[in-house]
């Protein structure tokens, strides 16, 4: 029954055809933007292959996307102020992205990808995603009459599916997509490439310029909404970070809309110790996205995605990167429901936990924005995920969330004062990124400038890292 007997279709042979498959299925010749030993012109790629902010706003307006409300979380703010010094405790706002068609901010990314696929004359679209992006692509494809295939990593080898991913499969099928469900493993990419070759559909990757520029409207709206609600820009925006596209697009949109400095904070759920390609670890985690298992590798090695050059470059924009624990996110998800009357999915609330803690060290007249929510339902609900964790032998209890061990325990905070995000060493992450991008190359002066832009640091910083790691540089 396996296809290895089929000539030309072994994993190795399909991967050898990767670049050609990608060029046809994305319609971008990435080589055109490359220069130096390792550099590429990121801004030119975004400008030539993407759409302007105004064009995207118009596309999204026509397709049920964007203009979501910014809501003040008055009771959550009141709770945070109980743990702040007098005069401290910033106002917390949330951008209710669950109200986009298909229920998440991912509709912004899918709207541009599907519009572009239709414009280029493709018959259908394919996306490799176990997350909300699948439903987003399926929903947008439905609007354009495009066929749609979503490839998911969904089950462990015993056939037990992650409830959150099963719900996403249901949503994709509801919007008319074909859903390919796989067991755990990076060879999903091989299946994905074969499907692109077979169908000749458009690769609606999350990491093309279309996928990223679609999020710029979110950053732009945050500024506009904030000015109209409170008369000024927010001081800080917290973004749940996985592949880096949400952060990149949001920050770019903010920069295009205001000259005022807005602090950009990335937040991920700490899943340290769990291997993302492990069959047995798969159902021992309660978050299938927004976690460090994606956040850190995609930050330190952005081009590991499904296109040759990812348009998600979070280190160009991030000011601070924090992690939170699974128990804290479930706690805040419940708090959001009962204090604000807003029932949303847990994965979208990762940044809410970070904002709850960060607000406590900001002044009362400052504002912090949680830039997304996601829909909730059977499977992708904190009740469903905690129940599933217990069934898989994870101990769920009240205590100090700092003692949580991913894959073994979920520690719900004994009281909200124990909710604290941990700040990661961003310089160290930037150093890893430079090492990954520069390894095996002999760097020219233009590569050093490129790397400095990539990690938003000086050329001197890049040189220092290269010297420490014995990376060759031309004199």
């Amino acid at each position: 029954m396996n296809e290895m007997n089929n000539a030309h279709n072994t994993v190795r042979e399909v991967l050898l055809r990767k670049n050609d498959i990608m060029k046809t299925s994305v319609g971008i010749d990435y080589q055109k933007y490359e220069y130096g030993a390792i550099a590429f012109d990121y801004e030119r790629l975004m400008a030539e292959a993407g759409y302007s902010l105004e064009e995207i706003k118009a596309i999204q307006k026509d397709h049920g996307v964007g203009n979501t409300p910014l809501k003040e979380l008055r009771n959550v703010t009141k709770l945070a102020r109980k743990y702040s010094k007098p005069g401290y405790g910033a106002r917390i706002f949330i951008k209710d992205e669950a109200l986009n068609d298909s229920g998440s901010f991912k509709a912004r990314r899918a709207s541009v990808a599907c519009y572009h696929a239709k414009k280029l004359g493709f018959k259908g679209v394919i996306a490799a995603t176990s997350g909300n992006y699948g439903a987003a692509v399926a929903s947008q494809a439905a609007k354009h009459g495009l066929k749609c295939i979503i490839v998911q990593e969904c089950y462990d080898s015993k056939g037990i599916g992650q409830p959150e991913i099963i719900e996403k499969a249901r949503a994709c099928e509801a919007y008319g997509a074909e859903v390919i469900q796989l067991t755990v493993g990076p060879e999903l990419f091989y299946v994905f490439l074969k499907l692109l070759e077979e169908t000749r559909y458009f690769n609606a990757s999350l990491y093309t310029p279309f996928g990223i520029s679609g999020v710029e409207t979110l950053g732009s709206e945050l500024i506009e909404n904030s000015i109209s609600l409170i008369g000024k820009e927010p001081d800080c925006v917290v973004v749940t970070n996985a592949g880096g596209g949400n952060l990149t697009g949001t920050a770019r949109g903010i920069k295009k809309t205001t000259d005022q400095k807005v602090e950009i904070v990335g937040a991920s759920v700490n899943l340290k110790g769990l291997h993302m390609a492990s069959d047995t670890d798969f159902n021992r985690k309660s978050f299938t996205t927004g976690h460090t298992g994606f956040g850190i590798p995609f930050m330190t090695n952005p081009d590991r995605s499904d296109v040759p050059r990812s348009a998600a470059r979070p280190l160009r924009y991030i000011d601070k990167y924090v992690t939170v624990n699974q128990g804290e996110v479930f706690f805040m998800t419940e708090a959001l429901v009962v204090l604000e009357g807003i029932e949303r999915g847990p994965a979208g609330n990762v940044s809410l936990v970070a904002a709850f803690h960060l607000a406590q060290s900001m002044k009362e007249d400052q504002t912090i924005i949680v830039q997304e929510t996601e829909y909730t339902g059977a499977g992708k609900h904190h009740q469903a995920q905690l129940s599933f964790a217990r069934q898989n032998g994870i101990h769920v209890f009240f205590g100090d969330p700092k003692t949580e061990i991913p894959g073994k325990t979920i520690v719900l905070p004994n009281h909200p004062g124990l909710i604290e995000c941990e700040t990661l060493d961003l310089k160290k992450i930037k150093g890893s990124c430079i090492r990954n991008l520069a390894k095996d190359a002999i760097l020219k002066a233009e590569d050093l400038s490129f790397l400095a832009e990539e990690v938003s640091e000086t050329v001197a910083f890049v040189k220092e890292i290269c010297e420490q790691c014995h990376i060759s540089m031309e004199e």
């Binding site: 029954m1 396996n2 296809e3 290895m4 994993v11 009771n75 009141k78 709770l79 259908g124 066929k147 749609c148 295939i149 089950y155 080898s157 056939g159 599916g161 409830p163 099963i166 719900e167 499969a169 249901r170 099928e173 997509a177 074909e178 390919i180 469900q181 796989l182 067991t183 755990v184 493993g185 990076p186 060879e187 091989y190 299946v191 077979e198 169908t199 291997h275 390609a277 492990s278 069959d279 419940e334 708090a335 429901v337 009962v338 204090l339 059977a378 499977g379 904190h382 009740q383 469903a384 995920q385 905690l386 129940s387 217990r390 069934q391 769920v396 209890f397 009240f398 719900l412 909200p416």
Partner: protein, 100 residues
Amino acid sequence: MISKGTWVQIRKIVLEPNERASNVPEDTAKVPLLMWVKGRLLEDGELNAIVSVKTMTGRIEEGFLVDSSPSFRHDYGDLVPENLEIAFMVKRLVFGERNE
């Protein structure tokens, strides 16, 4: 027997354990890469037999017939009483309620 034209789910082995990528962890390397897909049954077939289906996008796929008229049964799980405790705790802190 399941009739031709029925909406079914099939499962196929994409890669045997010895054909998997070299970089997968040990536990994953021991098991095959499996795939599930749904479609319309092209000929009458039996459960667990090898059949062909036409998928939603019109592709033909072959695999073991594992489910006829497949449906979604995922839910909200068993009650997690800790959620009630969280609800009481944060409402008491914000609104001063003592109704637990």
